[in-house]
């Protein structure tokens, strides 16, 4: 069932990425790990660029990371974000060595610094979709 009042872009998972989105619904952040050489990778894709193995396992990330970069979005480039600006977009470097883009609400943009410790939390934006969000880690 889709939520008609939700107007933001909705991901279209592929066979390669479905486990990632399914885990988010269970409030778990998972990453691919090469079953052959153990290298973690993100975003989900079929081949390990390190050893070219296509054997993959999914590991649960600690959800802890640091700020790698950020921006404050002032102009909404999508109708679903009208009235929601400004919001902080953050590039997070996870402990597992990969990065992801998320939002960092409830933080004063002027206080953000590279290396600031952050942790994941989960927002059920519709019955079908959960997004990973970040907050400061004490």
């Amino acid at each position: 069932m889709t939520d008609a009042s939700y107007t933001r872009p909705i991901p279209e998972p592929t066979l390669d990425s479905q486990p990632y989105w399914d885990a988010l619904k269970e409030h778990r952040l998972v990453l691919q790990q090469c079953a052959s050489c153990g290298t973690s990778r993100h975003y989900p894709r079929p081949v390990c660029a390190h050893c070219f193995s296509m054997e993959t396992t999914w590991i649960e990330a600690s959800g802890q990371g640091t700020v790698y970069s950020w921006t404050v979005a002032h102009h909404p480039f999508h109708p679903g974000f009208k009235g929601k600006t400004p919001y902080v977009l953050v590039t997070v470097e996870l402990e597992e060595g990969v990065r992801m883009v998320s939002q960092l609400p409830e933080v004063d943009p002027d206080a953000i610094k590279i290396g600031m410790p952050v942790e994941v939390y989960f927002e059920d934006v519709t019955a079908e979709l959960t997004l990973p969000m970040f907050r400061l880690r004490q």
């Binding site: 970069s69 102009h75 883009v101 590279i114």
Partner: protein
């Protein structure tokens, strides 16, 4: 490795009026620009035997066969690298001409970027953006200013680069646009106005962002041998390369977020040309955003990584400075014709026909393309 050095030349250039509201179809804009470029070279449309249209704008090589009655088109290709496509198309055109596969290759682009669909809605449809579309757009990281702001912010944090330094780029390029009758922006910009312009995606302000505009632009690439018999003085290609960044589909995962594909292309292009950055008289640098100009200046080797902020100050990139940049007004103030307008401007500079923006005695120049989150292309030319 000399590669393509001096084996081909740009023999014709053509531009439509650049506007906000062309009232013409994209097809018409491309045909008009192409006909002008072909006439500029002193050729007939039927002489064109290779066509490289900009990928994904709805006009394909077949349309040129149909409109021009080309009897034997022997080569067509596209180079889907976003804003790097046009300079990259010169490379594949040069390869086709140098190997004898084609004789005169038309590289062409035309768009209604202002009056047609806008960038925020366009990028979601592009296959190069599918990873962003799945993982970052749902979060709100949607349009290029937002995607690239992460790079700009990290550069500022690592190297102390400032918004005022971005402003020097915008103000200088606007000054150049004022010298160009075919530039959309015709009023001066002050550094204060830049600093007071509204934030789009911090640190990027409105005046850090390029225009959305309508227009068409084309060039003809021919062999150096043929070029000498055509009506314009040839502008020879000395060196050219394209470069793709690590993690090309997401900026997020890039090993070094402050380096573009340009950093890989530049050493190749300079080596092929047999020149160094100090020998460049004029540079037309893809300027979708001010930060992207600053970053490319570093990646091209005009200064070290982290020194771009200081480099762009003090008039160094203005006409009369050490390295005049975007003498036509660029995407920031002339028009966003995906950088084909940068190629045309470099050819004018090296022909000595750049009017009020002419760099005195310009002999060697450089043009770049940049797009799709980090692809870079670099061409070095001489008169």
């Amino acid at each position: 490795m000399n590669g393509l050095r001096d084996r081909v030349a740009i023999t014709g250039i053509g531009e439509t009026a650049y506007t906000r509201g062309s009232g013409k179809s994209i097809m018409s804009l491309q045909m008009e620009a192409a006909l002008k470029a072909i006439a500029d070279a002193g050729l007939s449309p039927k002489d064109i035997d290779g066509v490289i249209p900009y990928a994904g704008m709805g006009v394909v090589a077949e349309d040129f066969i149909t409109n021009f009655g080309i009897e034997d088109l022997r080569y067509s290709a596209t180079t889907p690298m976003g804003g790097a496509s046009c300079v990259a198309s010169l490379q594949t055109a040069a390869m086709a001409v140098a190997t004898g596969v084609a004789t005169h290759v038309l590289c062409v682009v035309g768009r209604n970027g202002y009056s047609g669909s806008r960038v925020g809605s366009r990028v979601a449809q592009m296959p190069q953006f599918k990873t962003i579309a799945e993982y970052e757009m749902p979060i709100g990281n949607i349009a290029p200013p937002q995607l690239y702001a992460h790079m700009a912010r990290r550069h500022m944090e690592l190297y102390g680069t400032t918004s005022e330094q971005f402003g020097h780029i915008a103000v200088t390029i606007r000054q150049h646009a004022l010298l160009n009758d075919n530039a959309i922006m015709q009023t001066p910009m002050t550094l204060e106005e830049h600093q007071n312009s509204r934030l789009i995606a911090s640190p990027l302000r409105l005046f850090d962002c390029c225009l959305e505009s309508d227009g068409g632009t084309a060039v003809v690439v021919s062999s150096a041998e043929r070029a000498r018999d055509l009506q314009r003085p040839p502008v020879y290609l000395m060196g050219i390369a394209e470069g793709h960044p690590d993690s090309p589909s997401t900026i997020t995962q890039r090993t070094d977020m402050t380096r573009l594909g340009t950093a890989k292309a530049a050493p190749q292009a300079f080596a092929m040309a047999g020149v160094t950055p100090t020998e460049i008289d004029v540079a037309e640098i893809y300027d979708c955003f001010t930060y992207i100009v600053l970053c490319q200046i570093e990646d091209l080797g005009f200064c070290d990584k982290g020194e771009g902020g200081a480099f762009v100050q003090g008039g160094r990139i203005a006409l009369g400075g050490e390295l005049p940049v975007n003498t036509h007004g660029g995407l920031l103030s002339q028009a966003h014709i995906v950088g084909m307008n940068h190629i045309v401007e470099l050819v004018k500079q090296l022909r000595g026909t750049a009017g009020k923006a002419q760099v005195a005695d310009a002999e060697i120049g450089l043009v770049t393309g940049y797009g799709d989150m980090g692809d870079g292309a670099v061409a070095i030319m001489r008169r």
